[in-house]
């Protein structure tokens, strides 16, 4: 296919758009020499290329910039190869020529490899997989996991969440006002002297209950004072509060 294009002189003359860059054009021209790429004459190739580009310009075809850059470089290479050697110039024109030849060889190798690859028996064109496979199935099953503690804790959590009122009342250590009035009245009857309100509280009460008892007993003291059953005495705000029965 590629050869056909390269051998077709008319097309070679006219169709610059068909080339995949200047190296591609050079390779096509090199193949017209009908020798192994290692044997080609670089000088002849340069002539062919320059003539081709000139021909395209004569036909007023637009020649892309990279083709012109290659043409300029090849013109330089040609003169360097023809002129007497200047050992000062590095790299030597021979090395440049060889570099070009190596590049053409590599491009050619890949072009042929590509063609051989495409000519293989290809899946979906020459070779076919099974048309109607049953398919393999993987059935994922969850193995559910939970620990007994999780279960019990969950039940505790649910119970706590749905019966909060009952528990809050039951758990809160409170001395009611009625209890305090009874307690304080009873204790006043047994005492004759002034005593701080703290001495009216339950002796071994836990801190939470003690606070409640203090508040209730204070209210009880105020209520009993209103009824004229107790006298209250306090020197200053937050100073100890003393109680004494009136009877």
């Amino acid at each position: 296919m590629l050869e056909a294009t390269a051998d077709d002189d008319d097309k070679l003359e006219l169709d610059i758009e068909g080339w995949e860059g200047p190296l591609d054009l050079l390779l096509a021209l090199a193949r017209t020499q009908k020798v192994d790429l290692r044997e080609i004459s670089i000088l002849e190739l340069v002539e062919q290329y320059l003539a081709y580009v000139e021909g395209a310009r004569a036909l007023k075809l637009e020649v892309a910039a990279d083709y012109l850059v290659m043409a300029a470089w090849l013109a330089y290479l040609k003169s360097a190869l023809l002129l007497p050697r200047d050992p000062e110039i590095e790299p030597s024109p021979e090395e440049l020529a060889m570099r070009l030849q190596l590049r053409l060889e590599r491009l050619n190798a890949m072009r042929e490899a590509g063609a051989r690859l495409m000519a293989r028996d290809r899946m979906g064109r020459d070779i076919f997989p099974r048309g109607n496979p049953e398919g393999l199935r993987t059935i994922r099953k969850a193995r559910w996991q939970a620990e007994i503690y999780d279960l019990i804790a969950a039940y505790g959590r649910v119970s706590a969440r749905t019966r909060p009122v009952m528990h809050v009342v039951a758990q809160r250590p409170v001395m009611t006002l009625e209890t305090a009035i009874q307690r304080v009245s009873a204790m006043l009857g047994q005492r004759v002297d002034w005593a701080t309100i703290e001495t009216f509280l339950p002796a071994d009460a836990a801190p939470g209950y003690r606070k409640s008892a203090l508040a209730s007993s204070f209210l009880a003291a105020l209520e009993l004072a209103r009824q004229g059953k107790v006298e209250l005495r306090q020197k200053s705000p937050f100073a100890p509060l003393y109680l004494k029965g009136t009877a």
Binding site: F128, P129, R130, G131, N132, E134, G135, L136, R137, T138, I139, R140, K141, A142, R143, W144, Q145, A146, E147, I148, D150, L151, I152, A153, A154, Y155, G156, R157, V158, S159, A160, R161, T162, R163, P164, H167, V168, A170, Q171, R172, P173, V174, A206, P207, G208, Y209
Partner: protein, 198 residues
């Protein structure tokens, strides 16, 4: 298995690549000349003892995997998964209150349960439908299974800790009080015992 001749090879390839079972005529239109029918019977013989069989269904022929190979084509894979919070709570309520209806579970949880939650518990084999309650609407009730007892290492449901045990373990603390205790710290025990006294 005899070495296949060219007609057999062609029939084999055509049937293999076909997207649906083919009639003798259809096979012939691909393969061209040759005794298609003879090739089919020879192939069916060849494949008889193999993991793949050539079979005729009505007028059509196709390859299929041998019937006794079915269990290799399906692979079960178990993946451990932790039960969600909703799942655990629902399971706990069923265990403590069985038999219990969905509406009752929701009323105890104080939250609606999604259908998936009961499905998961059913899939795990831990709960089962346990008859209908004879009230309007005849709702289905749920109860736990033997697999449930096995999984949680219980001899019977009576082995589940009772309400008093839960309270003693602090598992019944109302959320707000539990929080208070956690914050104040030292009086945790006292509050508990005082509560009982009051």
């Amino acid at each position: 298995m005899t070495p296949p001749d060219e007609v057999m090879r062609a029939v084999e390839a055509v049937l293999f690549a076909a997207e649906a079972p083919l009639t003798v005529q259809e096979i012939g239109s691909h393969v061209g000349a040759g005794d298609i029918r003879a090739a089919l019977y020879a192939l069916a013989d060849d494949y008889g003892p193999r993991g793949i069989n050539l079979v005729r269904r009505g007028e059509r022929w196709h390859f299929e995997t041998a019937g006794d190979m079915a269990h290799f084509l399906r692979r079960d894979r178990e993946e451990p998964r932790k039960l969600s919070r909703a799942g655990t709570e629902t399971l706990a309520i069923i265990a403590y209150h069985e038999p219990v209806t969905r509406a009752e579970i929701e009323s105890i949880r104080g939250v609606q349960i999604s259908k998936g939650t009961l499905d998961v518990l059913m899939e795990a084999g831990w709960i089962r439908p346990a008859g209908r309650r004879e009230v309007p609407g005849r709702p289905l009730t749920f109860a736990t299974t033997q697999a449930f007892l096995d999984h949680f290492g219980l001899a019977s449901r009576r082995d589940l800790p009772g309400i008093d045990d839960l309270r003693a373990a602090g598992l019944l603390d109302p959320v707000d009080l539990a929080l208070e205790n956690a914050v104040s710290g030292e009086n945790e025990d006292e509050v508990e015992s005082d509560g009982d006294k009051v």
